[in-house]
């Protein structure tokens, strides 16, 4: 058991190193000239040469990579070309908003996914409809669902705000944990307001993952409910609910968890688009604005943060699976 956990964590660090290598190569090899990109078109050759030496581009690639890792270890991701601030400072400002959105979305995705999965196991008319709706949902681009939501729930019905994190204009640009902060301080009106702003973007972001989670859960439940142990449980006189919860859900948890991990990772890519649609002041919007201005240090900084979260989350989910299913521990 311990050996498996250690191997898994070591392999996580391996993948994280690969991520840094990929980002390093993207940054240093792909653009025609990163130094020229830094200065723009009107740089003198002397300026270029001086900057090249300062940034270490005259050294060999492996040496540059080691330098890059060193700077990364000190949380130095360079300076944003757009805001002229250290990228790390910018990121720290935008991470809380994205974190709140992602957490809310994961909760909704889990709830919706379990619901879809359970609905799909019922025999009869419902199954075909659930399957149809699942395919339709997973075919819709998040930005399309988002703008439909804005047109319907804001423009037509006026139930939910169209975007942003709060109605308070003084706080509109504030960073930090708005929703969770207010929740901790029991500011009920504030929680209500922040929650209303959170609901639509989080749900839109959760739709795709919930379908995938629901599909996996339904598939494994269907296999398990045909099992002998389930027949025994029924014969034993357990209620249908107890059979489903104790024998069905428990055994279906493994595959569903691993799918959920994969989906949470992909949700971190989806969050970018959703933030743009709902003017959510997080990493996604920062990334979008950085793309418009070809701000490489900022772009790669966001990719590094989201990518590393993806890798770490998938490792955590793997370990959780190990805890949930003893059979996995005995396998090598």
């Amino acid at each position: 058991m311990r050996r498996i956990v250690i191997t898994r964590i070591l392999s996580m660090f391996g993948v994280l190193m690969l991520l840094t290598l990929a980002i390093f190569l993207i940054q240093n090899v792909l653009p025609a000239d990163p130094v020229r990109a830094y200065f723009g078109r009107n740089a003198t050759p002397e300026q270029l040469e001086a900057k090249r030496q300062e940034l270490g581009y005259d050294k060999s690639l492996p040496v540059q990579y080691v330098d890059f890792l060193g700077r990364l270890a000190q949380l130095d991701l360079g300076t944003s070309l757009r805001t002229r601030r250290p990228v790390t400072t910018d990121l720290a400002d935008f991470i809380p908003a994205t974190f709140e959105l992602a957490v809310a979305s994961v909760v909704i995705a889990g709830a919706l996914g379990v619901m879809l999965g359970l609905l799909g196991t019922r025999r009869g008319v419902g199954t075909g409809a659930v399957r149809l709706v699942s395919v339709m949902w997973s075919s819709a681009p998040t930005f399309f669902v988002g703008l439909l939501g804005i047109l319907l729930l804001y423009r037509r019905l006026g139930w939910l705000p169209p975007g942003g994190r709060t109605s308070n204009t003084l706080e509109a640009t504030s960073t930090g944990f708005l929703f969770f902060g207010r929740l901790m301080r029991f500011e009920l009106a504030g929680v209500w307001d922040a929650g209303r702003h959170l609901l639509m973007p989080a749900t839109v972001l959760a739709l795709g993952p919930s379908v995938a989670i629901g599909r996996t859960l339904r598939g494994s439940l269907r296999d398990i409910l045909r099992d002998d142990q389930v027949r025994t449980a029924r014969v034993k006189g357990l209620t249908e609910r107890a059979v489903l919860v104790r024998h069905g859900l428990r055994n279906a948890l493994g595959p569903t968890l691993s799918m959920a991990g994969l989906q949470i990772g992909l949700l971190l890519a989806g969050v970018i688009v959703v933030e743009v649609v709902f003017s959510w002041p997080g990493l996604g919007q920062y990334l979008d604005q950085s793309i418009d201005r070809a701000d490489f240090p900022a772009i790669l900084g966001v990719v590094m943060v989201l990518g590393a979260s993806y890798v770490v989350i998938n490792t955590i989910v793997d370990l959780l699976q190990l805890a949930a299913d003893p059979r996995l521990r005995s396998q090598r």
Binding site: L262, L268, I272
Partner: protein, 291 residues
């Protein structure tokens, strides 16, 4: 950019299957909904090939005043520059559809080659290839693709190559699994004993047997790739500005969402429609070839 690809560690390792029974691959094995889905896939492909002759205007042509409403002189009105939204949407659909197919084709060729080499060579070559595959699979594909496109500069060619470069690992796994299963079958043994060279055996006697599962995986991927590409285009990482691309058109239309909603809704709906056709056709292909 939400990606609902099949798989996850539990199902990722493709179960090696024997050759499909003789009845698979016949249209009579699938029901009417699946046949309709396959027909729709073919119809969309043909219609999009022919689209320059089917729509009245060019994608960049200014046909009327800006912000003309739906069902006026133009079927879906005009955009902020007076271009025909219907024409641009159709051209955008063509770009999305064939881009997705191209990305998958590139990914399948890269992954298939790696899987074939790994499965056939075995030993340390196999270990190296599969470790590489697992490592790439552990990285968040859409994000890496985004970084690559941002660094190389937006443009259709760069976007397609970047997405394809992160899309091959599944195919490598599938092909390798198939190769392992097939290389123990009598016809391959016979080829080997007949003195046929390894490369020739691999290409002529093993490769054809891997095609079925690869086609199934590819058809299931079309919808997902369309979504990933549209997400990149939405963020400004597809073809540069004037080109008709559905994601970019939707992003632009967001500015006018309340006054001229059709500018954003038309390309968004088109993407949705393409995704639905692709996903149902993918399911149907699986039923057809795997039964």
């Amino acid at each position: 950019m939400t990606d609902t690809r099949r798989g996850g560690p539990a199902t990722g390792e493709a179960a090696p299957r024997g050759p499909a029974p003789a009845r698979a691959g016949r249209l009579s094995t699938i029901g009417w909904p699946e046949r309709v889905a396959l027909a729709a896939f073919a119809a969309v492909t043909v219609a999009l090939v022919l689209c320059p002759w089917l729509v009245g205007a060019g994608e960049l042509e200014i046909v009327d005043d800006p912000f003309e409403g739906v069902l006026g002189d133009q079927l879906l009105g005009t955009d902020d520059q007076g271009r025909d939204v219907w024409a641009r949407t159709v051209f955008g659909m063509r770009a999305s559809w064939f881009s997705a197919v191209l990305v998958i084709a590139i990914g399948a060729v890269i992954g298939g080659t790696i899987g074939l080499v790994a499965g056939f060579a075995g030993g340390w070559v196999d270990t190296v290839c599969m470790r590489l595959t697992d490592a790439v699979l552990a990285l968040p594909g859409p994000l890496v693709a985004l970084a690559v496109v941002a660094a190389t500069g937006p443009g259709l060619r760069n976007t397609l190559l970047a997405v394809a470069a992160t899309w091959w690992p599944w195919y490598a796994r599938i092909v390798r699994g198939q190769v392992f299963a097939l290389s123990r079958r009598p016809h391959v043994e016979a080829a080997r004993m007949g003195g046929i060279g390894r490369v020739r055996t691999a290409v002529l006697h093993v490769l054809p047997g891997t095609l079925g599962p690869v086609i199934v995986a590819a058809s299931l991927d079309v919808g997902a790739v369309i979504l990933v590409l549209s997400g990149l285009s939405f963020l400004g990482l597809g073809s540069p500005a004037p080109a008709a691309e559905l994601g970019a058109m939707t992003a632009r239309g967001l500015t006018y969402l309340f006054n001229a909603p059709w500018i954003a809704l038309a390309p968004g709906t088109a993407l949705f429609a393409l995704g639905v056709v692709a996903n149902f056709a993918g399911d149907a292909t699986r039923d057809l070839l795997e039964d």
